[in-house]
């Protein structure tokens, strides 16, 4: 920002005061200390500049992907594709292994997420709805394993899967991904299940439901949104992973992320198709992410703020 800093205490022109007051009130929690009109203009400018800077790389990948090949490698980059084309996307789809790796990625991700959801839900039910000796220990395990840098386990995992003949197989990777997303799944679902009032369980039990019926008719339906959010997060994790699959499997058994990596190392970089491939690979993740973003933020810091 180059504009001279406004004195925060400068009084706002009289005509704008009522409007500003109302707006300030409708935003809950807005910090009203030092509000002034110039200050707001400055803040808005800063906010817009920040957003534009943040978005620039996103814009640049889109810009590149829709350019014809000669424009991608121009010494004077064009900031708006003058003749937008889908060539890069077509050549990405036609590139060797692109479709195969896409299918692999879908299979591996779905297997991992489905498995983690079933196993994780049962585990979450256990620590959220029962009190028993050892519950704390399970919670501790679930928390600790989330922090182990998974990459450091890659060496023994590789050796284990190698001796079980599960390297270069989609099954080996699926199981690995399942375990990778399992602790988070348990932890998040635990939060959703404990959010369901126990009184509901008890009322149902008194009305003559069995434990199994309580599960099927009350807990499961009420955890529905949580299951969706958790599985979407698991999907993102598994879809985005590339180091494990790149280490364990050969290129025809890898996923799209690993494909993006191969694309850079083997030949010189074909930037246009690479950026187009990057967009195709990101689309499901970005869409899913935007749907569930609230849960991701709260899951990581749950309870740190009362809200």
């Amino acid at each position: 920002m180059v504009a001279p800093a406004a004195s925060p205490a400068a009084p706002a022109p009289a005509s704008t005061v009522p409007l500003k007051r109302r707006r300030a009130k409708s935003d809950d929690g807005v910090i009203t200390v030092g509000r002034s009109r110039t200050g707001t203009i400055l803040a808005n400018t800063a906010g817009v500049v920040f957003s534009v800077l943040m978005l620039f790389p996103v814009y640049w990948v889109l810009n590149t992907a829709f350019k014809p090949a000669d424009e991608v490698l121009a010494l004077e980059p064009t900031f708006w594709p003058t003749s937008p084309t889908l060539d890069n996307f077509i050549s990405a789809f036609k590139a060797p292994l692109f479709l195969k790796d896409m299918l692999n990625g879908v299979i591996v991700t779905l297997l991992a997420v489905a498995g983690a959801l079933v196993v994780g839900f049962l585990g979450a039910l256990s620590i959220a709805r029962f009190s028993f000796y050892g519950r704390k220990a399970i919670i501790l395990v679930v928390l600790v394993v989330q922090l182990i840098p998974f990459l450091s386990l890659l060496i023994p995992l590789f050796l284990m899967l190698q001796s079980a003949d599960l390297t270069n197989s989609l099954i080996g990777v699926s199981i690995t991904y399942l375990v990778l997303i399992l602790p988070y799944t348990v932890w998040t679902l635990r939060g959703f299940i404990s959010g369901i009032p126990r009184e509901l369980d008890e009322a149902a039990l008194i009305d003559g439901c069995t434990r199994a019926q309580v599960f099927w008719r009350i807990i499961l339906p009420l955890t529905g949104p949580g299951l969706v959010a958790t599985s979407v997060y698991g999907f993102i994790q598994a879809w985005n992973e590339f180091i494990i699959i790149n280490t364990l499997n050969s290129p025809d058994k890898q996923n799209l992320m690993a494909w993006l990596l191969q694309n850079q190392t083997t030949r010189g970089t074909a930037w246009g198709p690479l950026m187009a491939g990057a967009i195709i690979t990101s689309i499901p993740v970005v869409i899913f992410f935007l749907i569930i973003q609230r849960n991701i933020a709260t899951g990581l810091t749950a309870g740190a703020v009362k809200g």
Partner: protein, 328 residues
């Protein structure tokens, strides 16, 4: 959730009751619940998977670091020879390793510091801007946050490409600067500023949006009272907002430390999968030793040391989360 009251209060009403529905099906299941076998049965699959694919590898990693596993042992399947602390002596007496440690620590410190400060600044800014601008900021950050790490790294690699990168083009436009064909990774300081920019850029959305959510919880009355009492915005920030926000800042900082300390993808991708010595971090170093040089045991020793270095931060985070997990 209260740990004490649940089974005790529910059990008496339970066994004596007659169930109208499927008594034969439900009865045998019901009995062991009170004795506490059901929760273990429910948790069993998850525990087995975690034990088998996280716990056992963890043990194996430690064991491996006391052996000497090379390509020959891998291919023949023979038990690698025990070498005691040899791998550790080798690693710890290696100047290259200490350079990697120093670099990783320095990077973590700088990148977390910048990320948290900028994130906090943006969070405060979000409270100050008009509604439309705030929405724009959230949308912009959401897109950045949603991008896969690998894709983000590829975009930065493309933008800083020495021949056709837009960054060189834009900097070259500045008067008196010649950045044509400038290579960003010849000078490690420049290379690391690209990596740090990428990490900070990708990390801001989580920090800013989380901290902003925290800021909405700061009671407005407190701030109004402070204004009435003549507090400057800076004083309000220091004496009201930051103390209230402190637990959240601690947690996001801890998470950022854990994430950035494990830096792999960004350095790996920006250096085309072959990071030069000056761009190695602990994670890439362990990986290259194991999978590039087939020194699986040496790589494991480095991984063990990495985990040990992180232990303090991890314990702190777990204690915070554990406290929360008990409360609700």
């Amino acid at each position: 959730m209260s740990v004490v009251d649940s089974p005790a209060t529910r059990r008496p009403s339970d066994p004596g009751r007659s169930r109208p529905n499927r008594p034969g099906h439900a009865a045998p299941k019901r009995r062991p619940r009170g004795s506490g076998r059901t929760p273990w049965l429910l948790a069993l699959p998850a525990l087995l998977l975690i034990a088998g694919l996280l716990g056992y590898p963890l043990v194996r990693m430690v064991v491996l670091s006391f052996q000497n596993m090379r390509l020959r042992e891998l291919l023949s399947g023979r038990t690698p020879p025990w070498v005691g602390f040899d791998q550790y002596t080798r690693v710890l007496s290696d100047n290259v390793f200490w350079a990697v440690v120093g670099r990783t620590v320095a990077f973590t410190f700088v990148s977390v510091l910048i990320s948290v400060l900028v994130g906090l600044g943006i969070a405060l800014l979000m409270r100050r801007v008009s509604r439309g601008v705030r929405l724009f900021m959230v949308v912009a950050m959401m897109f950045v946050w949603a991008l896969p790490q690998l894709v983000a790294a590829q975009i930065f690699r493309w933008m800083t490409d020495s021949d056709f990168g837009v960054v060189n083009y834009l900097i070259d436009k500045l008067p008196g600067v010649d950045y044509q064909n400038h290579s960003w990774f010849v000078n490690p300081w420049q290379g690391w500023s690209v990596i740090t920019t990428l990490v900070v850029w990708a990390g801001i959305p989580f920090l800013a949006i989380t901290l902003n959510a925290g800021l909405t919880q700061v009671p407005k009355e407190l701030l109004e009272a402070a204004t009435v009492d003549g507090a400057t915005p800076w004083q309000a920030l220091r004496n009201i907002i930051l103390p209230i926000l402190k637990p959240l800042i601690m947690i996001v900082t801890t998470l950022s430390v854990i994430w950035n300390f494990g830096l792999f993808t960004q350095a790996w991708v920006l250096r085309d999968g072959h990071p030069e010595p000056q761009f190695q971090t602990l994670a890439t170093y362990s990986y290259t030793q194991a999978f590039g040089q087939s020194r699986y045991s040496l790589g494991s020793a480095i991984a063990v040391i990495t985990v040990l270095l992180m232990l303090g931060v991890m314990i702190f985070y777990i204690r915070q989360m554990f406290r929360i997990g008990e409360v609700d």
